[in-house]
Amino acid sequence: MKTMKNHMKVEFDSYSGNESFARITVAAFLCCLNPTVEELEDIKTAVSEAVTNSIIHGYGNQVGTVTMECEIDGDEVIVAVSDEGVGIVDIGKAMEPLYTTRPDLERSGMGFAFMEAFMDTLEVTSAPMEGCLVRMKKKIGVPLHERYNCLD
C-alpha cells in the first residue's frame, strides 16, 4: 500500500468573510480521507477558531495575510494557521479558558479551549509583534484501506 501524503498551503486576506472560505477549503482538502462528519466538524471548528483569532486579535482593524497550511500524513492531519500580527505577550494566560482581551467584541475566551478539545494536540508559538502560529494535529479514525484514495 502506498503511503498517503498530501499538502496544501493557502494565504488569504484577513476579512471575516474569509472564515467560511477557510473552513470549506480545509474540508475540501480532507474529503479524500473520508473523515466522519464528527471528525470533519471538529477540524473545521478548530480552524475557524484559529483563523478568527488571526483576523480579530492578530490584525484587528488592519488587513493582513492569514496563512493556513494542511498536511495529510497517513491517518494524521496537521493544520497550521499563522499570521504576522501583533502576537501574544503571555501565551499561558491567553490559553486559559474564558480569558480574552476583547470582551468588547463579545469574545468568549474559549477559542484555544475549543482547539484543544477538538484536536489531539495544540502548539502555540508567538511573541509580541512577531505574529502567531498555531499548529494542531488530529488522527482520523477510519482505517486507511477503507478510504477512497485520491492520491495518484
Binding site: 467560511s20 473552513r23 466538524e41 463579545e106 469574545r107 479551549a113 475549543f114
Partner: protein
Amino acid sequence: MDDFQVINSYLCIRMPKELDHHKAIRIREMADRYIEGQHIEFVVFDFEDTSFMDSSGIGVIMGRYKKIQILGGRVLAVHVSDRIRRIFRLSGLHKIVEIVEDEE
C-alpha cells in the same frame, strides 16, 4: 429580516447555517436593536438550520444573556443538535441557557 421575530415578550432568533464570528457580528447588532427597542423578556435562539457553530456563537448568546438578565429576562435555545449541546457544555453555557427539548 425574517430571522428575527417578536411574539409578545419573546424575541425569536433563527440562527444561521454557519454561526461564526462573521455572522455573530450581525446577530448581535440586530438582536440588540430589538431588545433595546421593545419589551423583551425572553430571547429564544433557534438552531434548527445551524450545522456549524464555533466559540463566536458562545459570545453572542452570552452577550444577550447578560443584557436580558439585568431586566429579569431569560435565554432559551430550541432545536439544539448533539454537537451544539456538546459545545454548550464545553463552554458552561448550559448553566445559563435553558435548552427546550424537541417533542417526539
